[in-house]
Amino acid sequence: MFRRALPYMLSLPALVVCIGILIPFGTAVYYSTQRYNLSFPQARAFIGLENYTDFLSDSAFWNTIEVSLLYTFLTVTLELLLGLGIALLLRKPGRFNNMVSILLLLPLMTAPAIAALMWKLMTNPNFGVLSYLIGLIGFDDFRWASSPSSALFTVVLVDMWVYTPFIMILLLAGLRSLPRQPFEAAELDGVPRSFVFFRITLPMLMPYIITATLFRLLDSIQQFDIIYAMTQGGPGDKLMVFQVQSYLEFFQYTNVGRSAALLMVLWVITYVLSNLFVKHWLKLRERAHGHA
């Protein structure tokens, strides 16, 4: 009996504490089916899926989807590659490597909202040290976040600066807890290093990679702080991602219904993506541990 009940006893408190969130979540879903702008209280009405069907013909909505997905794809891919690279560089335990890995967490520790303020200063064409430095190597007229052609690059760069350490530290912890035997065996057999990396390291690291990527994905598709602080979604609509758009809809336009509908779409996208990841993760786990 105890054995049967134990897993529930262990996991339910967490669920119970969190389940409270489902109530406001449900309320928000309900809002999304309403014409509900706080500034038009008398116009509030149930409109079913109209908020959603309105999106279909709204080019701004499709732009938001495109920008969000592109942003997510770029940041997650680049951060994963860079984070993995750095984790491999720092793989060997030792005082120096450990210290470096902690120091590399510093960007993650500076709150993105404040860090973005500093990046805005550092990329300012007059006072910005980064503008100055790239001016020295010939990019005199680089306009960072304010030019449509470089805005995405700039925010992706800041995102990478902030969040690559997140992936790095998870993969480093993973790398260092891998069993040693397969590597020792491979070394004895003189297996080429690229083979070791692609056939041993990478597959064994895969569960960690998926966990790190999953969380990065969840955060990246919901990116707000950096983009809002750097460009507020501009120039034009170049960086208008979901959270920025729905933030504006809610806090500035007080359009609760539309904001909720927009966020519901984001929620569905996130749900589908993370479901894919978790399924894959579970499959890998199963393969790694067998059933016992």
Partner: protein
Amino acid sequence: MHHTSTAERILRGFLLTLVLLFFLFPIFWIFLMSFQTNEDILRIPPSLFFTPTLENYIALISGRLSTVAGDLDIAFMRNLWNSVLLSSLSVGVALILGVPAAYAFARFKFRLGENIAFTLLSFRFAPPLLVLLPLSLYFSELGLSDTYLGLVWVYQLIALPLILWIVRGYFEDISPDIENAYRIDGHSWATTFRKIAIPLARPGIAAASLLAFIFCWNNFVFALVLASADKQPVTVGALAFVTASGIQYGQVAAAIVLSVTPTLMLALYAQRYLVEGLSLGAVKG
């Protein structure tokens, strides 16, 4: 490991230098700015040379900020304290709730288990904005608005899924036989959990706690919407230097330095456990 040739070591060194430059130069620059007056910071072109001043730190720590418009009270240290309180309480609660749950998902295959796990993860991807308005309405009714309790609860949305999913992986990597052996030795389930499972998953718990702490620390929209000024974290506090009469960059920089310090200490402390992960060797069965 393979023997490293000289060329390879040079390449590694070079790559590491690039990495350090990219990630730490901005931090270094912010650190320098924290010792400069606004006038020094806003020089054209920017320069490495300046007369260092402690003014920014003094203003933050003493809570008095001298500006064009006279002396102002600032609550930065209070904000800092709020951040410490909110982040550590939230991570503490998330650990108490999340670690046992993570263990359950790792060790047992039970009905609805994966569903519960995924539901808990899904709290992470409910966009905070989506729940904030209804939440603030319910909070007023429940008397939770403007309480640390309410905030710590909402912070679970950030901390709990992270701890749950990272720690789960580490538990799964521990051979169940190690725990079985301990129980057969005569120890209860609870002792086994405490003496075997937790210590062996410590690298994961340390990493997850550190990351959860950082994410709680960096959040500000929850406290902003749900609490009054005396409970605002340092992220909101640092924005106070964005004043109508200009952005006090020196103080923002000093605020960043001060606000990073507790987290950095925590990371340095947690490092011991992060390193322990490898000294134990493979614990896989």
